[in-house]
């Protein structure tokens, strides 16, 4: 059961990453060329997943879209980890201090701005782009990692081996890196996978409402937005990108759960 989650999750994730990487070198068709007469074709031999309302090959669009989704989500999670983990370590090391209070209140504040609202604010002033989506999702990831790091690090600070390290004259920063970080790494990997999947969902949502990647960049959310009016005429145009999102997110979630069970079933992952 546990191994099954891990294997299915890893396989699904690997497929999408492979598609995204492959899109750099080869796609079945060029998505820049339109073929109006050949539009809205159902899946068949020539177009494995059919064509959209401009006659573009949907498989090629899915591959290019995977690239956008993965890039946006990965960078956003990277931002969240790069800022959130050090902040969380710092807050835990200075537990109860003014600094801890400021960091945690700052986190609470960011939680009051759902990533969609951040995206709205940024777009209103700077216009829509994939970079905005990255920033919006990235900012939202910061408190997720900061809180989780802090809450995982705090009980460690009470453990005797940390006291022993302090007796050996090690500084809080050194202890954080040497003793705390390795002991929360598993949790961060698992949470990173979960946040990655949430990032894919958020990117799709943002580009669906036009606050994310702009044409001609392909993205799954935009494909769905374009397909919305065609749902009753050509359902496959709307179904396929949705399934792509679903499978990618499902794969990452299974991978995260599988990793957790494999690394340490007692890890407490935050789901928001």
């Amino acid at each position: 059961m546990r191994a099954r989650n891990l294997i299915i999750g890893a396989a699904l994730t690997a497929v999408f990453i492979a598609l995204a990487v492959m899109s750099f070198f080869w796609t079945p068709y060029d998505i820049a060329t339109l073929d109006i007469p050949g539009r809205l074709k159902t899946p068949g031999a020539a177009h494995l997943l059919g064509t959209d309302h401009f006659g573009r090959d949907i498989l090629s669009m899915i591959m290019m879209g995977a690239r956008t989704s993965i890039a946006v989500a990965l960078v956003a999670v990277g931002i969240g980890m790069a800022l959130g983990i050090p902040l969380g370590l710092l807050a835990a090391a200075r537990h109860g201090s003014l600094l801890d209070e400021i960091i945690m209140r700052g986190n609470d504040l960011i939680f009051a701005f759902p990533s969609l609202v951040i995206a709205i604010l940024i777009t209103a002033v700077f216009g829509a782009s994939a970079v905005n989506a990255i920033i919006a999702i990235g900012i939202f990831n910061v408190p997720v990692f900061a809180r989780l790091t802090r809450s995982a690090a705090l009980p460690l600070w009470e453990r005797d081996f940390i006291l022993a390290a302090r007796v050996c004259g090690k500084s809080a920063a050194r202890i954080s890196v040497e003793h705390i970080l390795p002991n929360i790494a598993n949790l961060m990997i698992v949470q990173g996978t979960i946040q990655f999947s949430l990032g894919i969902l958020a990117e799709a949502a943002l580009s669906y409402i036009g606050l994310g990647a702009q044409p001609p960049t392909a993205s799954w959310g935009r494909m769905l937005a374009d397909a919305q009016t065609l749902v009753s005429i050509a359902p496959h145009v709307a179904l396929i990108p949705g399934f792509a999102i679903l499978l990618m997110v499902l794969g990452l979630n299974l991978l995260g759960d599988g990793l957790r069970d494999w690394l340490d079933p007692r890890l407490r992952v935050a789901r928001v």
Partner: protein, 313 residues
């Protein structure tokens, strides 16, 4: 209890002040000259000057900020540049779509997730548990706006049970609720999946606690121990998620409104973004953040109601 409430109230106020500063800074300071930004590159200088005067841009920053906050406190959110009507009127016309939608979805999500989570935890490892956990795994992965499109395809286009979109107004409450039903389901199910998972794991944690063993030693059945001792304790972490979910439902509602062509805050905000009407964007965003912060305050109070350990502090 009073001390706790006062503490939470203080932090509510501080959060609101900082949030308003952030929003003000992003909308009115970062663009440089908001008036020129709103009117675009081809605007005539005298139009820009008129807008500048109307927005009070000739005043110092802090004065503008206080004027904005003071206005909001009195229910005056300024006047929209594109609609030429008070923003307060624009909002009040639309908030009665967005808020009921979020509340409807929250009720649905809780009504589905609590029983599902409790059932799964009580039958841990059984067929029911595995089925529910499989379903939540799908629910967590499904994009809600895509789910909404599928609901439209099935229930509006094919079965014709619901209309595909639009909102008839609250003149006929039954009809209004009916038109919000599909959007609420689309919003609620993915959130219910998350909530059910949290409920289940929180309950399982509680079932492993010493006090459950004590309860069993008193002669309570497994079921009685679960309902009388585990559920209420498990609610504490669930409440946190519930509070966060409200902000996701509110934000998610903005997206779902697009799918169902609902005249809510979402539509207003997207039209204002494309029209570069910063006055409307600023106020609507502040309103959304205000709602989220107030709901989190309510969650904090709910903690204290559930947990006597907090009341003393």
């Amino acid at each position: 209890m009073i001390r706790y409430t006062l503490g939470r109230l203080t932090s509510l106020t501080v959060s609101l002040i900082v949030a308003s500063l952030v929003i003000f800074a992003v909308i009115e300071v970062i663009p440089g000259d908001p008036a020129a930004f709103m009117l675009g590159v081809n605007a005539r200088p005298d139009t820009i000057a008129a807008l500048r005067a109307e927005m009070g841009l000739d005043q110092p920053l802090f004065q503008r900020y206080f004027a904005w906050v003071a206005g909001m406190l009195q229910g005056d959110f300024g006047t929209s540049w594109t609609y030429k009507t008070p923003v307060a009127d624009l909002i009040s016309a639309r908030i009665w779509v967005s808020l009921p939608l979020a509340a409807y979805a929250l009720i649905l999500s809780t009504a589905i997730a609590f029983p599902a989570g409790i059932y799964a935890a009580s039958r841990r490892g059984g067929a029911g548990d595995i089925t529910i956990m499989g379903a939540t795994q799908l629910g967590v992965a499904i994009p809600n706006f895509w789910f909404a499109m599928i609901l439209v395809l099935i229930f509006a286009v094919n079965l014709r049970w619901f209309s595909a979109g639009g909102f008839p107004g609250w003149g006929n409450p039954a009809l209004a609720l009916k038109s919000l039903t599909l959007p609420a389901i689309a919003l609620a199910l993915p959130q219910a999946a998350i909530l059910a998972r949290v409920m289940r794991s929180s309950l399982l944690d509680m079932l492993g606690e010493d006090f459950i063993r004590t309860a069993r030693a008193k002669g309570l059945t497994r079921r009685q121990a679960l309902w009388r001792h585990a559920v209420r304790n498990a609610l504490i972490p669930v409440l946190t998620i519930l509070g966060l979910q409200f902000s996701f439902l509110l934000a998610g509602g903005i997206i779902i409104e697009q799918v169902f062509f609902l005249p809510g805050l979402g539509r207003l905000i997207f039209q204002s973004i494309s029209a570069r009407d910063l006055i409307v964007v600023e106020s609507v965003v502040m309103l959304l953040v205000f709602l989220v912060i107030v709901v989190n305050f309510a969650v904090d109070l709910a903690y204290a109601a559930v947990d006597p350990r907090l009341r003393r502090r």
